[in-house]
């Protein structure tokens, strides 16, 4: 078994903060761009989608981390990670949706439409795989997943605001629609590079 990195409370806070700001999944790692561009038109939809992503990321990590360390690694099948993770996450999201529909219909009404959308979303898969790559222990993995989800939410909410401003501007004909949105996304992304190094130095 590979040596796991353990973290004290300060370390966990650093992981959380850097997942939100520095290693933001959408704006720095460019994962989960599809929902980022697709569902960021309205603020309420963007929040709904983000909450669904946070929930799924946490569930997915809670399930895939033990699978990696107690099932795949001991049997020398670490290379099957991607396939097994996709399979398990897809089944898990379906399970969560069924359970929500039965027990928490109100939550299902708000998150229901977004859950199937993120069944095999690359941001969710990315979080689970990167948790393994970074050799985080279970607690650190969960904290990193929470941070990544919050980072996704931050990016979505920020960009929903940017987009509502863009809608009211007269962009040149050639830039209307998706092009200007992509340009805006890249500028928001560049602005997030300003956070690089801030978090580590803040706590050092």
């Amino acid at each position: 078994m590979t040596e796991l990195a353990h973290f004290d409370f300060k370390g966990l806070v650093i992981i959380l903060m850097s997942a939100v700001f520095v290693n933001n999944y959408v704006l720095s790692k460019f994962l989960g761009i599809c929902p980022f561009l697709g569902v960021s038109k309205k603020l309420d939809q963007a929040t709904g989608m983000s909450i669904a992503v946070i929930v799924v990321m946490l569930f997915a990590t809670a399930v895939t981390w033990p699978i990696q360390y107690y099932l795949l690694n001991p049997n020398g099948m670490g290379y099957m990670q991607t396939i097994v993770f996709i399979l398990v996450i897809a089944a898990l999201v379906q399970l969560v949706e069924i359970a929500l529909k039965k027990y928490v219909p109100s939550l299902h009404a708000t998150l229901g439409v977004y859950l199937p959308l993120i069944t095999t979303n690359c941001a969710v898969l990315g979080v689970t795989i990167l948790n393994i790559d970074e050799q985080y222990d279970f607690v650190a993995s969960m904290v990193n997943s929470l941070g990544s989800g919050l980072g996704f939410m931050l990016a979505m909410v920020l960009f929903a605001g940017v987009r509502s401003r863009i809608e009211n501007c007269e962009a040149p004909e050639a830039f209307k629609g998706l092009p200007i949105t992509l340009v805006a996304a890249s500028i928001v992304s560049v602005s997030f590079f300003g956070f690089a190094g801030v978090i580590e130095n803040l706590f050092s």
Binding site: V84, A90, A91, Q94, K102
Partner: protein
């Protein structure tokens, strides 16, 4: 070679476990849905306009399935055709839908009133209204930037001479524009009516006169001369009681500013039925 077999078997087993779990979960945690729901939902137009008083078409379909007392004639855009289908599905008596159309209670276009400022802001009535009540002299009237036209699903609203007009022959009466207009100028009215007061200004006559030559000055001439007494003037504004009105058109002829219209407001359903 064995390693490959192990991997294949392991993934297959995980897959089967997931499948069994999902199958069991979907049986155990199944939510009973009334089998009539999809059929009823399919009948409804799907505009989610809310004219029925429920939260979208899903909400209305759910209410119909769950409560027998909910009427089948509430979908105004769907009109008689939808009401008939719903009645058949639910096995209740068919009830006629009162077809409605949206009408704008302002005729203050650029020929009768003028602007008090040049406006270069956002092309939205809601935004323009925040700045001294819009660029028109009359703060009660149509701002003319077409918020209503943007939400109309049937393209029934056009902008002409600086104000919005409803082409009632295209209007399905969904009422989405009535909720959008920041001055609340648009209202739904039964499409069999022929008379309409096209002003919403409640200021005194002299003040209205100074702003718009088409506005209602509250002179009460129509109220005095109406043969059936259907018109009352309140807050310096004439209003027609459609229960009494006989569509004689006398008020439109004698109105000193010409703000009462006598027109055919037939909606899209009546026009289609006539064809």
């Amino acid at each position: 070679m064995n390693e490959i077999y192990y991997a294949i078997i392991a993934v297959s087993v995980i897959g089967v476990i997931c499948a069994v779990l999902l199958a069991v979960a979907s049986k155990v945690m199944a939510v009973k849905e009334d089998e009539r729901f999809p059929a009823i939902r399919a009948c409804l137009p799907g505009a989610n306009c809310g004219a029925c008083g429920y939260a979208g078409c899903d909400g209305y379909a759910k209410a119909l399935v769950e409560d027998e007392n909910v009427k089948t004639n509430l979908c105004i855009p769907g009109a008689d055709a939808v009401s008939r289908q719903l009645s058949e599905l639910l096995g209740v008596g068919f009830e006629d839908v009162v077809e409605q159309v949206a009408v704008i209670k302002c005729k203050g276009d650029c020929t009768v009133t003028s602007e008090k400022m040049d406006y270069y802001g956002m092309k939205s009535c809601a935004a323009a209204r925040l700045l001294y009540g819009g660029m028109g002299k009359c703060t009660y009237g149509c701002i003319g930037l077409g918020d209503c036209a943007k939400v109309c699903p049937n393209n029934a609203i056009c902008l002409e001479n600086g104000i919005a007009h409803v082409d009632t022959r295209r209007c399905s009466g969904c009422g989405m524009c009535t909720k959008t207009c920041p001055n609340h100028l648009i209202s739904l009215m039964s499409d069999v009516e022929k008379m309409l007061v096209t002003c919403s200004n409640t200021e005194k006559g002299a003040s209205v006169r100074g702003k718009c030559s088409h506005g209602c000055i509250g002179c009460k001439k129509c109220a005095r001369e109406c043969p059936v007494g259907a018109i009352t003037v309140e807050n310096n504004l004439a209003s027609i009681d459609y229960d009494k009105c006989t569509d004689c058109g006398h008020c439109a002829e004698i109105c000193v500013t010409g703000c009462i219209m006598h027109e055919d407001f037939s909606g899209i359903h009546r026009v289609k039925a006539a064809e």
